[in-house]
């Protein structure tokens, strides 16, 4: 434990890390201020405190009362009433089979892969039916501003947070792995009683510092966003609200269907949690690379090239053979692909995904693989000549 604190202090003494963190925060503030503002969404959030978020008769009565209480312009009231009046449950009678068939046809897949795709949507149908039973879509969210606000929150902002968190974490991990090389202290450190086992506290310190930096970024960014926006009771609204939707070139416009029932709050927490797990995956991969490539800059370059290759290969290689197709679908579980598809986490995914819960499966597989590769790298390091 003592060594853990020493290693943590070494990392926190790095001005470069703090500088990068500050730059990320500044960037996020700009994103929040420039892209995050939506007058109408704020009005809906404020109204939701009075009306609640369930779109039933009581909602409309409370909406009228709130309007008569002032503070809501006639135009905004009219818009909200227009958007919420006479709405129906989008999940009633909604069939997911169509999506499956469109994806199968567009991807040109047959056999096991086509069946896997159909199975995924058969499973999703159960989730849709459950949502229909709960009238989950009949919730307010941000009414007409839902799609824009949802995209901003869970695609743009969360995407930047995960990217920045991963970069800070990778920077910290590579700094930790290469610290002794940078300071030419490796020989002294690895000849001590602790010796090469110092990698354990080093990794623990780097991971906690990386995850900590991610949470600090998330906390500060959301704090500013929430300070500038009005959410009211919208937190309790379902993300599968009828106002939320996805646009897909193959499947077209379709409701935002999640495997489980998520409120805006729980979906946000799940996204941040999954983001932390993804940051952890990237960190473990970077640490493994850092043990092989002793130069920190070179190690970062190798990390970038490895991830870029993982992105490019599944796109570029023709899917002629079944094994290649299997590799492509398996590649979608890689951290870099999970990062690219963060905007559709906890949903059925898209044409590239044949498994339900792809983000959970992907994170578990990636974490296990990254942890195993980290163990192998550490084992190699223990036996390596340190010339």
């Amino acid at each position: 434990m003592v060594l853990y604190w020493f290693e943590l202090k070494k990392l926190l003494a790095s001005a470069a890390v703090w500088g990068f963190l500050a730059a990320c925060l500044l960037f996020n503030m700009i994103v929040v201020i420039v892209q995050g503002h939506d007058d109408y969404a704020d009005v809906v959030g404020a109204v939701s405190k009075e009306t609640g978020v369930v779109l039933d008769d009581a909602f409309h009565e409370r909406l009228l009362r709130a309007a008569s209480g002032g503070g809501l312009s006639a135009h905004q009231l009219e818009r909200l009433q227009h958007e919420t009046r006479g709405v129906t449950d989008v999940f009633d009678g909604y069939e997911t089979r169509t999506i499956a068939e469109r994806y199968v046809a567009a991807a040109g897949i047959t056999g096991w892969f086509a069946e896997a795709m159909r199975d995924k949507y058969a499973a999703l149908q159960k989730a849709v039916d459950a949502k229909a039973k709960r009238d989950e879509s009949l919730t307010l969210y941000f009414a007409g501003s839902t799609h824009a606000r949802h995209q901003f929150l869970f695609d743009t902002l969360t995407g930047w947070l995960i990217t920045e968190g991963a970069l800070v974490a990778v920077l910290l991990v590579l700094l930790s792995a290469g610290y002794e090389t940078i300071h030419r202290t490796g020989h002294v450190v690895y000849a001590t009683k602790t010796g090469r086992e110092v990698l354990r506290p080093k990794l623990a310190a780097a991971l906690t510092a990386g995850i900590g930096a991610y949470f600090v970024l998330a906390f500060a960014t959301f704090l500013v966003h929430l300070g500038l926006s009005e959410y009211g009771s919208v937190w309790n609204s379902s993300v599968s609200s009828l106002f939320n939707y996805r646009i897909d070139f193959v499947a077209g416009l379709r409701p935002f269907v999640t495997w489980h029932s998520f409120s805006v709050l729980t979906y946000g927490l799940a996204m941040i949690g999954a983001g932390a797990a993804l940051v952890l995956c990237f960190s473990l991969i970077a640490f493994g690379i850092g043990l092989f490539v002793r130069n920190g800059y070179l190690a970062f370059l190798v990390f970038l090239i490895a991830n870029a290759t993982a992105v490019v290969l599944p796109i570029q290689i023709p899917h002629a053979a079944e094994a290649v197709l299997a590799a492509k679908y398996a590649a979608m579980l890689l951290p870099v692909w999970l990062w690219l598809k963060h905007g559709i986490w906890f949903t059925d995914g898209d044409i590239d995904i044949i498994w339900p819960h792809f983000e959970t499966v992907g994170l578990c597989v990636s974490l296990a693989a990254a942890a195993a590769s980290r163990l192998l790298a550490a084992r190699h390091f223990r036996k390596r000549n340190l010339s």
């Binding site: 300071h183 602790t194 000549n385 010339s387």
Partner: protein, 284 residues
């Protein structure tokens, strides 16, 4: 006893050390040879940073690789290129190394100031090491090697960067410490070990050349070292060792394998003579 038993170290097709066998029992062992002769490779193997390609290194009959931390906890090691965290103070840095050496906080709190005083850095113990001179950094290196009161002290070029006064202090310190431990001191500077080494180990062509007391090693040139003021008068083939000024004239010291030349007088060989003669094809 620390035993280097028929150790060979190769890097691909390059052989750095070949079939080295040395037994270290106690006292100061001076590892003396020119740069690039394999000293540092041997030292790094003793410090478990490198692993022998063949052969083994045994401490009390057990392989040091297998002993792992049980071996590393009894060694103190100063590498040839010693680095520090320049954004830390000597006190912070030594506390970190004390933790790595498995020392508890109380023991470290006692030992760190004591060692900093010993290496004359007590007055800068809380100053960041950013502006420290090479000599000051080297003294921190010596202090860290002594932190765990090691039974085996391994020092690779320990006097690099030290001024003459510090060198003398260091030699005295090593002499003092060697009473109850093994000190392995690698150097290419003869004066570092001439007066303090119990045994001198010399490597040549990647192999062990000799492992003997300084006087024993000097005896190998007994009757072959001479001095003269009239080098031109020497008609025999000789190997010049050094020269110095005496009463305004140049005195040349040389080795002659074929008896005493008329214009020269025999002198007692010293370790430097042996070093220069043995490595005559390598020394610049």
């Amino acid at each position: 006893m620390l035993l280097v038993d028929r150790v060979t170290k190769t890097y691909g097709s390059f052989t750095a050390l070949e079939d080295i066998t040395i037994a270290f029992t106690g006292g100061v062992y001076g590892l003396l040879s020119p740069n690039g002769s394999g000293k540092t490779t041997l030292i790094k193997m003793l410090a478990t940073l490198l692993f022998p390609t063949s052969g083994s290194i045994l401490w009390d009959g057990m392989d040091i690789g297998r002993l792992g931390e049980r071996y590393r906890e009894i060694i103190g090691y100063l590498p040839q290129h010693f680095g520090v965290y320049k954004n830390q103070s000597p006190r912070q840095f030594l506390h970190y190394l004390a933790a790595l050496k498995g020392m508890d906080r109380a023991a470290a709190a006692r030992k760190v100031p004591e060692l900093l005083e010993l290496v004359s850095l007590g007055n800068v113990k809380d100053v960041k090491m950013r502006k420290f001179s090479g000599g000051m950094i080297q003294r921190i290196g010596i202090a860290q090697a002594l932190l765990n009161d090691p039974r085996i002290l391994i020092l690779d070029e320990p006097t690099a960067g030290l001024d003459p006064k510090e060198r003398v202090r260091f030699r005295n310190l090593i002499s003092e410490l060697s009473k109850d431990r093994i000190v392995i001191l690698s150097t290419h500077i003869v004066s570092d070990i001439e007066t303090i080494a119990n045994r001198v180990i010399m490597l040549k062509d990647r192999r062990l050349l000799c492992n003997d007391s300084p006087s024993g090693i000097c005896r190998t040139l007994g009757g072959k070292v001479f001095e003269t003021r009239e080098m031109d008068a020497i008609g025999q083939p000789v190997f010049p060792l050094s020269q110095r000024q005496e009463d305004g004239r140049t005195v040349v010291r040389f080795v002659c394998e074929t008896g005493c030349p008329a214009a020269a007088r025999p002198v007692e060989p010293n370790l430097e003579d042996v070093f220069l003669y043995v490595y005559r094809d390598q020394v610049m």
